[in-house]
């Protein structure tokens, strides 16, 4: 393991979040490399400083509970419509696909490249992304 591999993993190592195999390699490197040992010590002190600063700096404050003036919303209808559409598209694909194939039957290789099924699969993948966007996370997406 080299220094440039070790350095970005030091924080994970300190947090115990490196897979054990990598951790063993990293520890072996640290035993042999004073520069990385020093960098790890700096990182360790900084992380410790951050933790204790945050703990000390913001004392718990008694906060009033929010006044829940709203009702929980029903789940939006869009995911249901989208999933029905996806199923419809898949069914349509299964029905239409055999009728397209005879036009492309000359070479099996050509068939594999131009089979309509992947196109429908990618369509359904797009559609399910729409579901995801408009399902669980659509109201709280970060970007």
């Amino acid at each position: 393991m080299r220094c440039r591999i070790v350095r970005p993993n030091l924080e994970s190592y300190l947090a115990g979040e490196l897979p054990s195999l990598h951790a063993v390699d990293l520890q072996r490197h640290l035993d042999a490399c004073p520069a990385c040992r020093k960098e790890m010590e700096v990182t360790r002190r900084l992380v410790k400083g951050l933790r204790s600063s945050f703990q000390d700096a913001i004392p718990p404050r008694s906060l009033p509970l929010p006044n829940l003036t709203v009702q929980p919303q029903r789940l939006p209808w869009l995911p249901k419509v989208a999933s029905i559409t996806v199923l419809g598209l898949l069914l349509l694909g299964l029905i239409v696909a055999p009728s397209i194939q005879p036009y492309r039957h000359e070479t099996p290789a050509a068939l594999m490249q131009t089979s309509p099924i992947p196109a429908h699969q990618s369509q359904s993948r797009e559609a399910s992304e729409v579901i995801n966007r408009h399902g669980t996370d659509w109201r709280i997406s970060i970007n």
Binding site: P8, E11, A15, L68
Partner: protein, 193 residues
Amino acid sequence: MKHNLFSEGKAEQESLVVLAQEGDRQAFMRLFQGVQQSLYRAACVILQNDQDAYDATQEAALKAFRFLRSLRQPQFFKTWITRILINECRGILREKRKMSYYPDMNNWHINLREAAGAEINVLEAVNHLTFNYRTVVVLRYLDGYSQKEIARILGCPIGTVKSRINLALRKLKEGLVVQDFPEPHSEEGHHAL
């Protein structure tokens, strides 16, 4: 090892989520009480203003209650509501158009200074970080979330979380070189990160 709201009474917490999803306000209040301080403290560091932090926390509670039915895995309530809070903070900062500006010294800073004494150097350095870096630092070292949990909160890959943490730490090290860390750069020509 990691701080986890649901490590105790996990099943009870999950049933509270289910009750709250049906509109049970008491159940939601109990859930929210378990995360309120954590949300408020995170918002304090991210927004650097306790009134804004309070507003963000209250707004996050309302949105969480309103949209709770879109939470399909009750065990992720805390990361889910934290995600809502981070979005609120982002919105507040965007509104104030101070995403990348060094903030004014406000009351909160003064309170911090009194409470933290010598540790203020670290916090001032955190305040210099831009939104994305400040947010990962807060989630990681104030709340003690794992990289995987932070990835879930921010909706980005673990690799992105890891590189943001590393870059934030590098910036903090650079900012804290003189006061806190003698000779942080290796003399052997190794290039950290």
